[in-house]
Symmetry: C2
């Protein structure tokens, strides 16, 4: 085995001083996760192009050095962080960036994986197009594919998987082999759809170097309301009925619990209470259209009339306001809740028809076994997504050591996954942080398949820190 | 090795007389393809439920007998037909049928694989929902997933892959193992998305037994026009502009060539010429909405005004008419062309911005090397799909023996795939009929992956007649 200093030297020789970061203060930006976790790498490798990345993979494979691909380091499950051994090469894609081509007739864009979402949308703006995956962070496109990011507008546009027409990936076996799947076809049924293997698998099967995405006309008008349903049963019917009436336009159906709303009002200055008193739950409903507002097509008018017709049966109260006003409330929740205590964040999904029932049952479970902890849930209700976030008040933190939090997490997941056939990670992926839960909820048949699949793509286990296969 | 009679007996014992067809006149319905090809099976096995199907797979695997899964036998590439050896067991899923559950709030339906599309839509009707994959045939749902069917409304709803939330499949290794992926989640990022392996792979990796589909509100109003573009260059801009103005509503953008339109007018009684003279190309544009027509939201009015504004620059002429009138023309093409001579059908796609150029170049190629053959192309222009169908007039059929037709096919495919990065099979799949082209256009890197993948799912090559791996 080659020693670490020699390997660092070889990588520096291959990629140049800009391409190989060795100083601790340079590395920290990459080794520490966006919100959680950290590790220690052998070096930060920043190839300038795809050929250099392939060469780096060959170099690492020769010495059986593990590679951890990283986009913009905005992930939340540790999938792009090295472990603490100092033996992983962190492969940053940030220099392999740039939009290659935009075709406005195709509504297709091709770009390198290191391009940021914001950079893509900036380039698309002059064509009145955008990539409608709406997120809090500004990830790289390669990272978005690897994580299959969802976000608030999935109900309208689907997730990243739905909008990916093609990609290019580098395989680790044979090392650095380029798999060119960069076609732009919407219809192509010529065998296994290989790109699916690289989407949502956190870099375990290959390093995504290029993406080909379907993009969409930018909305030209929208109508946004915050709605208090008549009851939680009415909430399900409200979703069903808004889809029946506005299926063509519905671009968000977000849930906000009373506690979450209360927390925003308390901690964010300048936001007025939309309801008095606050209802147990509220929904931010957004309609939008690529067609500009006109006298004969006005979403706000259509929406307003419909909301009016729902008063009583389905709706207790509703506020129609500018999107920026209502979304500001929604986007402030995550940070506000941080001021309520130590946050335990969740990223759950269940069938959306069960959301109300799941939420009630999970809240009762908390009440019973973990009194004092406070629930501030919110989420992408229309997609079945629920950030079932909790805050442990300052004075109770000592009562909730990591082991108890882990047990609590598992109780909630057991309810979501085993009883409601839900997901313990709706949007964020597996990664080392969710590894134990992946192993708990994945069936033996799937684990067996995953083990065989790892032998297809990465028999030496040289790629990424997530392991989908059964323990050897 | 067990002899055939014994095997037939064992299968009859397992599945009963209804479940094992042996008489030639009974078998023919399954052994002969919907439109092309035929084979000879060891028997037609028709298990009554999933357990019986699993048991059958175990029985066949023990004796290394190949199984060919079949849905409603409506496929066009021979993927569900046995070869001619008389040694394949044809596994018909037609008895494993029925809708299991419809959840109108989730907009989700779960059904057995043998359920027909028409049966599904009938069950959905009372909820004002439908599965919007629009096809000429009435396939089984399992077959639709295995073929990843597209159809005329892909531009709005995506293909079957986009609308599949879950499935259940039986693996052949271990034989008959049930892989339960029947979740109903729109957001679930917990590892490799295994269902993708079974979608569009023609039964090569497993037998689909259940499907979980996202369904959609049934349209309540529509507006349909047949449009003659000012030129073929204008056609691309027309597509771009109709999407900018009606992205929320566009549910079909179908192309019809002059010859195809002429053929319909000549052979189908009661259809009046929509234009005089016929333009070189016409487009059937359909808008639809789940929202009923009202004074303040009338798609026909909006569409009419917009079409008017396009006259001159983009549009030469346009006819707004009832959907059934205009779709009747579109749906009559395939059969009309059959009356023009011997049909050579194509199922090509290219990036939609290149459709006009590809078509022109392919027509010139025909003209030059295959004079006398006549082009009647039409297709799903909005998705980049083109049925580049040809008819060989009666008096020239002798000049076009099978080898020449195959060479012609390859010339057209070479142009589509190699020059335009298109597909030789946009909607219909690979199957034995396209095997030679699959091998021609698939890269060595993909073939190598496919070979390894086959070792994951079917190391003994016991499932299906399509082979995605490299020749051994």
């Amino acid at each position: 085995m080659t020693d670490i200093i020699t390997l660092q030297q070889r990588i520096a020789d291959l990629l140049g001083p800009q391409g190989c970061l060795l100083q601790p203060e340079q590395r920290q930006l990459y080794e520490k996760g966006a919100r959680y976790g950290d590790g220690k790498s052998l070096c930060i490798a920043r190839p300038a192009n795809v050929d250099e990345a392939a060469e780096l993979m060959r170099l690492c494979a020769r010495d059986k050095i593990r590679i951890v691909p990283q986009g913009a380091n905005t992930g939340l499950v540790g999938a792009a962080s090295p472990d603490r051994s100092g033996l992983d090469v962190l492969l940053s894609m940030e220099r392999i960036k740039g939009v290659i081509d935009i075709d406005p007739v195709d509504r297709v864009v091709q770009a390198y994986a290191g391009t940021r979402l914001s950079e893509l949308n900036q380039a698309l703006e002059k064509h009145d197009l955008y990539f409608p995956i709406d997120l809090g962070a500004d990830p790289s496109l390669g990272g978005m594919l690897a994580a299959n990011t969802g976000g608030a507008r999935l109900i309208r546009y689907g997730d990243v998987r739905h909008n990916t027409l093609g990609l290019e990936a580098l395989l680790i076996d044979p090392p650095g082999e380029r798999l060119d799947l960069t076609n732009r076809l919407r219809k192509n049924n010529t065998g296994p759809d290989w790109k699916q293997c690289f989407i949502g698998t956190g870099g375990a099967y290959g390093v995504i170097t290029q993406v080909v995405l379907q993009v969409h006309p930018r909305p030209q008008q929208s109508a946004t309301a915050l709605v208090a349903p008549a009851s939680m049963e009415a909430a399900a019917l409200l979703l069903r009925d808004v889809e029946r009436n506005f299926a063509d336009f519905l671009s968000a159906f977000e849930g906000i619990s009373q506690n979450a709303l209360q927390s925003v009002l308390q901690h964010v200055p300048g936001i007025a209470a939309p309801f008095e008193p606050l209802p147990p739950y509220a929904f931010l409903i957004e309609l939008s259209s690529a067609r500009p507002r006109s006298a004969d097509f006005d979403l706000e008018k259509l929406f307003g009339a419909w909301l009016e017709s729902c008063f009583g049966d389905l709706i207790l109260d509703a506020v129609i306001d500018k999107p920026e006003v209502l979304w500001r409330i929604r986007h402030a929740i995550s940070d506000s809740v941080r001021q309520e205590g130590k946050v335990v964040a969740f990223d759950i999904s269940v069938p959306r028809s069960s959301l109300g029932q799941f939420r009630q049952e999970a809240a009762a479970l908390l009440e019973q076994s973990h009194a004092g902890i406070k629930l501030f849930d919110f989420g992408h209700w229309g997609d079945g997504g629920l950030h079932f976030n909790l805050a442990i008040p300052e004075q109770l933190i000592a009562d909730f050591p990591p082991l108890r939090i882990n047990a609590l997490r598992q109780e909630i997941y057991d309810l979501a996954v085993l009883k409601y056939k839900g997901s313990f990670s709706a949007e964020h992926g597996v990664g080392p942080f969710n590894q134990q839960f992946y192993e708990r909820y994945t069936t033996p048949a799937q684990l067996a398949l995953a083990t065989r699949m790892q032998n297809v793509f990465d028999p030496e286990r040289l790629l990424g820190v997530t392991s989908y296969g059964a323990k050897q």
